[in-house]
């Protein structure tokens, strides 16, 4: 009796291999789920027709990209409690706008500077309760923050709007500096959009079946998230630098902080000037919209990692290296721009430097890259407490608290 034909054998081998691969992939997915490994950086944002992107509403995830915390986003996509639109009777509302330094994915919610501020302002003060609403969105620039005020924050009737300005917002306000086509930019003349982000390939394809499937996979498959994570790392090979950053015992990074940031903190003087012109217009528009909402605007300059580095010689070296792109230089120009617009600015770099020099502690970064990165819990606490101390007399003086 003849055995199965050659074609049949080949077919069954192919079917076996396909099933084998499918089984292996299913097993990999199960392993990732059993080990609770996920890569939320693959799915924490969704397309937004006005701001380019927006944090995905109602999701929760564990953030381990930097630091380690559980992140929950409310039904509007903000890292905040669910808040009613109507202001509670007698409450004073502060709306906080900002980027990743304000959202603070890296630390638990209760440790973010907005929450520290809320607790500090309410401490030992009976009577009018203060609510601090966090409208921070990771990777946003000033245009997106202004849009967030108009589209979301204004509806909550804040009495005070605090804009957390981080030095890289200047880059985020310029397509030439940020090279990020997925968001809107304003021209330096303030009238026209430099490039409509809706023309970007990602946005044009967003309704396509392939893109919808891709987004669905990133939300529901840990393996798809792993693939996205690896793609990101191949695009930015620095990610592959091993976690060798901490020099033994010193708590300081083993790499050169100035050199590490150098590639991302550059731009020609013309590009920088244009970015400042745009930023000025955006701040002006935000100021006017906040005033129309019968609220006050304050800009808070958030200290950066080289500004708060616990070694004055390193700070000086970074300042020389970066020139007009240095965090300190940007802060000084921000103070000047806001001064011209009549917007109060609060700076905290001196407090951070003094505390860093006294204690030798870093207020940015985590174990794998100390001193470099977003605020760590110490940074959030210091900023929240210092800001509360400065805001108290301001709120008394302006009558907001009465």
């Amino acid at each position: 009796m003849a055995g199965p034909s050659r074609g049949r054998r080949l077919l069954s081998a192919c079917a076996g291999m396909t099933l084998g691969i499918a089984g292996a992939l299913a097993l990999c997915e199960m392993i990732l789920r059993a080990l609770a490994i996920s890569y939320p950086q693959a799915y924490w944002i969704a397309f937004d027709s006005q701001r380019g992107w927006k944090q995905r509403p109602g999701i929760s995830f564990r953030w381990r990209e930097e630091g380690d915390s559980l992140v929950s986003l409310n039904s509007r996509g903000y890292r905040d409690a669910e808040r009613p639109l109507a202001k509670p009777r007698g409450a004073l509302r502060i709306a906080v706008l900002g980027d990743s330094m304000t959202v603070g994915f890296e630390v638990p919610f209760a440790q973010t500077w907005a929450q520290v501020l809320e607790r500090a302002l309410n401490q030992g003060r009976p009577g009018r309760r203060v609510e601090v609403l966090n409208f921070g969105e990771r990777a946003y620039g000033t245009l997106q923050e202004w849009q967030t005020f108009r589209l979301d924050a204004a509806a909550y009737h804040p009495d005070l709007v605090v804009l957390g300005f981080f030095y890289n917002d200047l880059w985020d306000n310029s397509l030439a500096l940020s090279h990020q086509p997925e968001r809107p930019y304003l021209m330096a003349d303030g009238r026209t959009i430099e490039r409509d982000f809706r023309d970007s390939p990602y946005f044009r394809q967003k309704g396509s079946l392939v893109m919808r499937l891709r987004e669905w996979m990133k939300q529901h498959s840990r393996l798809a998230q792993l693939a996205f994570e690896l793609r990101t790392r191949f695009q930015h090979p620095d990610y592959f630098q091993p976690a060798r950053a901490r020099a033994a015992g010193s708590g300081r990074p083993a790499f050169d902080v100035c050199e590490n940031l150098r590639a991302h903190q550059s731009g020609t003087p013309e590009q920088m000037d244009k970015a400042w012109a745009t930023t000025r217009i955006l701040l002006e528009r935000l100021r006017d919209d906040v005033a129309r909402s019968k609220a006050r605007l304050i800009v808070v300059s958030l200290p950066g990692p080289t500004q708060a580095y616990p070694d004055p010689s390193v700070r000086a070296r970074c300042a020389r290296l970066f020139g007009t792109a240095d965090e300190g230089a940007i802060e000084r120009r921000l103070v000047s721009v806001c001064g011209g617009l009549g917007i109060p600015v609060l700076t905290f770099s001196r407090e951070f430097q003094r505390k860093a020099d006294d204690s030798g502690r870093c207020f940015h970064g985590f174990a794998d890259a100390p001193c470099l990165g977003h605020f760590n819990p110490d940074g959030h606490r210091l900023l929240g407490e210092e800001l509360a101390a400065r805001l108290r007399p301001y709120l008394e003086k302006t009558g907001s608290w009465r």
């Binding site: 081998a13 291999m17 292996a24 930097e66 994570e229 620095d238 950053a245 470099l372």
Partner: protein, 55 residues
């Protein structure tokens, strides 16, 4: 020592598949090995914290 034992195990597993003509299991084993390598590569920490790949 432990490393050579691991290699021997892999070699034994390979010859078992070869002898038993379990060809269909080869891609499955390769996928699992590749998965292990990729998982390891995705574990290292980022030291460029202000770069965001969004989509």
């Amino acid at each position: 020592m432990a490393s050579s034992r691991r290699w021997r195990l892999l070699k034994d597993f390979g010859s078992f598949l070869w002898k038993e003509k379990l060809w269909w299991m080869v891609p499955m084993a390769l996928v699992l090995v590749l998965f292990g390598v990729l998982l390891y590569m995705a574990q290292s920490a980022a030291v460029t914290p202000f770069i965001y790949t969004l989509f």
